[in-house]
Symmetry: C2
């Protein structure tokens, strides 16, 4: 059973600052899914690619991953190069480091490297990303917007197309730590079709079957579901005004809790465990 589970594709979306010193729960989850396979660390989001590579190589090797490779990209040329594509050959895991999410999408978007990453995912691999590497997972991604304030209509919330590995959600990271409720609500209000997923530091969601995710780690995951929204002043022309949004549904999830993006329903850890046991028993 555990072996089967590991061959199911998964996204591990991490809110930044995952523990690298102590139990390393989240990085361990990535390592376990890669198992005896091959993990590629993509440092493309960062301008300190060497430092990040050195750190994550050490970490993943320490967690038992024997085949760890570096994907360092600094231009669209790099993303098209045969060398880059070759690095991904046979990989069953890709880990995106933090940095600037637009460095990832502008360089990898519509490249053979991106195509290969998609294939790795579709053939049962794990794609993980922390901070900027978390933001790129969705169709539309959060790029920038102020933290620690209620969103202002003229405040220039910046969204961009992400890698599109998962549909129907938008991810924000360093969520509680940087007070990002305002900008996530603003993103969701633009089109409540997408569910806002705010992930705290040292916290991750593990998405399975493109639909359900489980929370792992120390902090919380805040879900902003705008499906029930009755009003917003988003199209108001007064740009100096604060955003009004009524009747948004909010969930805060902690470790072990599960959220189903299709039914838009959360489930506490205990309920999920019981259900899985029942399913195992039949």
């Amino acid at each position: 059973m555990p072996e089967m589970k590991r061959s199911e594709r998964a996204l591990i979306i991490i809110g930044g600052h995952e523990d690298k010193e102590d139990k390393k729960l989240i990085l361990r989850a990535v390592a376990e899914r890669v198992g005896s396979g091959k993990l590629v660390v993509a440092t493309v989001a960062s301008q300190q690619q060497e430092e990040l590579w050195t750190e994550y190589e050490r970490l993943f090797r320490g967690l038992g991953v024997r085949h760890v490779y570096k994907l360092s990209v600094d231009s669209r040329e790099d993303a098209k190069s045969e060398a880059s594509v070759r690095v991904l050959e046979g990989a069953n895991g890709v880990f995106f480091t933090g940095g600037d999410q637009v460095r990832i999408t502008s360089q990898l978007g519509c490249s053979p490297v991106c195509q290969r990453i998609q294939e790795i995912y579709e053939s049962g691999g794990v794609i993980a990303g922390t901070s900027a590497g978390a933001s790129v997972m969705s169709e539309t991604m959060m790029v920038s917007g102020n933290g620690d304030e209620t969103h202002r209509l003229g405040a220039g919330l910046q969204l961009a197309p992400g890698l599109g590995l998962i549909r129907g959600i938008i991810v924000d990271q360093h969520f509680a730590e940087r007070g990002r409720l305002g900008r996530l609500v603003a993103a969701v209000a633009q089109n409540p079709r997408i569910i806002g997923i705010g992930i705290d530091e040292n916290t991750a969601v593990i998405v399975e079957r493109d639909q359900k995710f489980t929370v792992l780690g120390e902090g919380g995951v805040t879900i902003v579901d705008g499906g029930s929204m009755t009003y917003s002043n988003l199209t108001d022309e007064e740009t100096d005004r604060a955003l009004s949004v009524f009747d948004v549904k909010l969930h805060i999830l902690s470790q072990g809790d599960v959220y189903d993006c299709q039914s838009r329903r959360p489930k506490p850890e205990a309920a999920e465990v019981i259900e899985e046991e029942l399913m195992g028993a039949t």
Copy 2:
């Protein structure tokens, strides 16, 4: 009509850092309600009572309030003294400065001064407060709890009995600026009977008829309504765990928007204006 309005009692609950330099919208609203009456500035929350008094006296005099008096309390003795009670004589407005909310309640609670403030309110006065002075308005008040993180079960959210001028709500201030969603949700989850009202800096709610409030100022007011809550892990014994809370209703209100604490419904500014005009026309 406007004259009548001013004789209705009101609470002006301010999220801290109200503008003191520019348009002074919020302090102006306090001054206008006091009108030609008498305003008492209560600096009791602070340990810098003289500095605050000097500043607010200048501000309120500049805004046209001719009778501005100081209520400086440093002990329960002060709160019981005839001098303190006399300061409040004939006042139709009280303004609580910021500082430590427990300094207000522990010194004024069950004192003749507190009794007088209650009477001023009941006879149509305005009671205003900023920051700590905002927190004390409710029955149960927020004292402390971490900002910028999802609430942790063992994190020592501290609540205390407030002045009780308004029932059914709990106020948090400096709300978006200090990332206080986690602690406000945690407070509401303890008993969803109370509605969480998170007020940003330079933003206020003006409560009329003990029930409905209007937002004034630059930022937002975040309402956490736990009436629809379906689950929380609040009573879990694992104290190092993050709080899970499902199905909380969230509203973000901006200037002019109205919230009815009884029906638990928000209304956009425009709808409220139209309604008032219709009422005026009948």
